[in-house]
């Protein structure tokens, strides 16, 4: 009986050792690629800093207008074409480009689509509202202004870069 038990224990021990061994291998296998993924986004951020041509300055007015532009985005194993929508307008000498992504939970906002608020950006999801310069209106869910794109005007063409928080 006790013989049998000894036998069992040693088998269990054997199993434990083996499993730890295998587990150890697996952990090593997992950590390596993770380190690679961890480096990748940094490199990617740099290449995403590129400015994209969106429209001619002559198209712009004081009223925010919607412009779509696309670029390739690499996300781990898929490269997909991503389309972003910006609202661009002329404010004095400055060209302002605001992101259309609601800062609450990411729905797409639009300019002057709600009859009650003709001079505001409106989010259809939870009624988020923003002023023309992107400032979030208190009492609605968003807690920060719409993000603002880096803008460059060269030879009559408007280029936008990354959208950055306004605060």
């Amino acid at each position: 009986m006790s013989d049998e038990q000894n036998h069992n224990v040693s088998r269990r021990q054997f199993l434990t050792y083996t499993l730890t061994g295998v587990g150890g291998f697996m952990a090593a296998g997992i950590i390596l690629p993770m380190a690679r993924f961890a480096i990748d986004p940094v490199l990617q951020a740099e290449s995403e800093g590129d400015m994209k041509a969106v429209t001619d300055v002559s198209e712009l007015t004081e009223e925010p207008q919607r412009f779509d532009f696309s670029y390739d985005q690499e996300d781990a194993w898929v490269t997909s074409e991503t389309t972003e929508t910006a609202y661009i307008y002329q404010s004095g000498d400055e060209v302002v480009a605001l992101s259309s992504t609601c800062t609450h939970l990411g729905c797409t906002v639009s300019w002057a689509t709600n009859e009650e608020y003709p001079d505001e950006f409106f989010c259809p999801c939870h009624g988020g509202r923003y002023e023309k310069d992107g400032t979030n209106i208190e009492g609605t869910p968003p807690t920060e202004p719409l993000h603002k794109y880096e803008v460059e005007v060269r030879d009559g063409t408007v280029y936008v870069g990354k959208a950055e928080p306004q605060v």
């Binding site: 939970l105 729905c107 797409t108 989010c123 999801c125 939870h126």
Partner: protein, 152 residues
Amino acid sequence: MKWSTDDIPLFVKEREYVDTAVLPLLPIDFGDGIRQSGAMTEFITVMSAEIEKQFRGRMLLVPSFTYLAQRDIKECRREVEEWIQEMKKEKMKHIILITADSSWKKVESELDGLLVWMPLVPLENMDTAYKKQVISEQIKQLLPLVMDKWKE
């Protein structure tokens, strides 16, 4: 929000704001209908991704319900109904079913959700710019349907 490791934690955290589920219904055919089945899958997948993008803060894009194309639609309906009830139990108030398969129209009245049937637009042989235009036209028609549903 998508059914992904990035979005699901967000969904869990913000679920009081997410009251709408979008469920694509995709018929699968391995026989003569395989082309059609492929085209529908592509089309509906693109459309549902676009809706998700517009309304991501309030909706969850659920993995598609796939079924063999030759199956009796009544049987499929029963199964989908099970999904719907389960989602409703988890506080999804609005269920949007999106499909290009017209047989769903026969059972529309028995579905506890909004059935959005979109006639298949064959995206093959279209150049990218045209494709985008077609899709954004379709989406424009779809958005008000969703927003009306929210008014209920």
